[in-house]
Amino acid sequence: MPQKSFRDALNEALHLEMERDASIIVLGEDVSGGAGGTSGQREASGGIFGVTKGLLPKFGADRVIDTPISESAIIGAAGGAALAGMRPVAELMFADFVGVSMDQIFNQMAKFRYMFGGKTRCPAVVRLAMGAGMNMGAQHSQSIYSLLTAVPGLKVVVPSNAYDAKGLLIQAIRDDDPVMFFEHKALYPRKGEVPDGAYTVPFGEANLLREGEHVTVVAIGRMVVFAEKAIDNLAKEGITCDLIDPRTTSPLDEETILESVSGTGRLVVVDESNPRCSVASDICGIVAQKGFRSLKAAPRMVTAPHTPVPFARELERAYVPSPARIEAVIREVAKE
């Protein structure tokens, strides 16, 4: 199977879906880049991360829409276009810009179907580049999927690898509910096996990436990559783990997590977001309530601290959960 980067997998998903369905539009800042320039190259960037590269020449400026820096209007336009029967894919250059456009996300598109008595659909996708690791500081590095996972009406997707990224994005575009699609910036260049054609990865179905006896490890987004490293090291010591990648935090595949914990009796959740009211604390809460009898040790979280994302290399390194930290916590839990 061909090897492709996470970035190219997403790009391929957009190309394939836009070819299939003329109601799909892409909009955001610099999604083609240079579309309105008076000199220089048209389609200069294809989005700051290159995910929308090649769409403008193929599908034209009516469907690949460079916008002003107006995040509320971008997300609002996506919501309105979706109500009017289109399938928009909006790009928020950095997930942190949710702060600017929050009303359109959580008061508008998340609530339309409910407020309007189930008589409308809002099939909008919002793509959000997230995550620390590039020294971009407190306003360009957050992992705020936890914030949006708390909002009824939204679906929240956090892919960890190139294969899932493509299949989940195609599913997101075809889905009739609003979908928040989080792409960890550090994952963009990572390669994996990705088939050429279109395929979907369903929402609410976790991926069991490792099977073991001693600890259930649930990891989100880039943390899956770190958890894999930690778990593979621990295997040499005879500690084996289930590794579960939920792939979507809303809906959440509780069943796979609870079933695994019923076998291992131990839970570690690895989450790059801040710890309070996080996906990690949510999963620990679910397991405490629904899987209490199978627990042999207290559930543990490995998360960022309750701080903004720091800038300096050393500080940011200390902020993001590291494979070593994950490994240490799993080892402790396994021995309890």
Binding site: A73, A81, L83, Q108, Y114, G153
Partner: protein, 325 residues
Amino acid sequence: MASPPLSAERLQRAYRQMKTIREFEERLHVEIATGEIPGFTHLYAGQEAVAVGVCEHLDDADYIVSTHRGHGHCIAKGCDVTGMMLEIYGRVDGLCKGKGGSMHIADVTKGMLGANAIVGGGPPLAVGAAIACRNRGNQKVSIAFGGDGSCNQGTVFEAMNMAVVLKVPAIFVIENNGYSEHTGKDYAVGSKDIAGRARSFGMPADNCDGSDFFAVYEAAGKLIDLARRGGGPSTLEATITRFYGHFEGDPQLYRAKDEVKRQRETMDCLKNFRARVTAEGWLAASVLDAIDEQVLKEIDAAVAAAKAAAPPPDSEVETDVYISY
């Protein structure tokens, strides 16, 4: 005698729409005082000529987004009046199954993309619907209704600018009723000139007397035609007044004594319409009287239906959040 700008049939229709909105709101004013209607409600009485003067140019495939003061826009765009009344009473057979209420009435099948309880929430949505219209190439338009209060929200500026940049058929209709909630427009609108501010984004903008159906109809018609012909967005500022408070129960201490009484005498679009069409000989007073009678009956029936209707069962709390989950 001038020839009428609309056929007699369409004149009657416009009058019926305005009268329906008026009586809907006048009746709500009475019924809300009984405590039977949950939540809080913002009445559109006084502003009817704006909603109707604009929406008489539209059909179901054109879109509108509305505001917290949305009943008039809903009726003008063709939402079912009984369904609306049931919704406002929180009934399961309401237009939104009792889950939306006064501030969230919508009917996408009529191109009505929702009343909106966030001031300034609607215009970005209207730009999105306008993108849909542009891409379909079907000469349809998208209207964002808003008040003078909303036009100080950043979302409205973003939406106006984006509509100009993308050259989409969006028309921003600003109903300047003089008050942002309880704060006067002379205080809250820094430039004092809403249409001028819209013009500065690079689009045509016009002003009209919002109490004169014919003025609104003519001004809106020009801008809507422009958008249908691919001429892009525009703004219409209609000067108008509201006959009630920001919400029902608002003591309106910020308004001058007898202000509303005077406005009801001089700025009542129904009186103005009646005076004009009878003076011009376009419609007979008896025709208008008959419409008045029919509308009152319709509103009576809607209220009776709403009072008798069942509330939603508790099981409805958890439905309609997602299409699939």
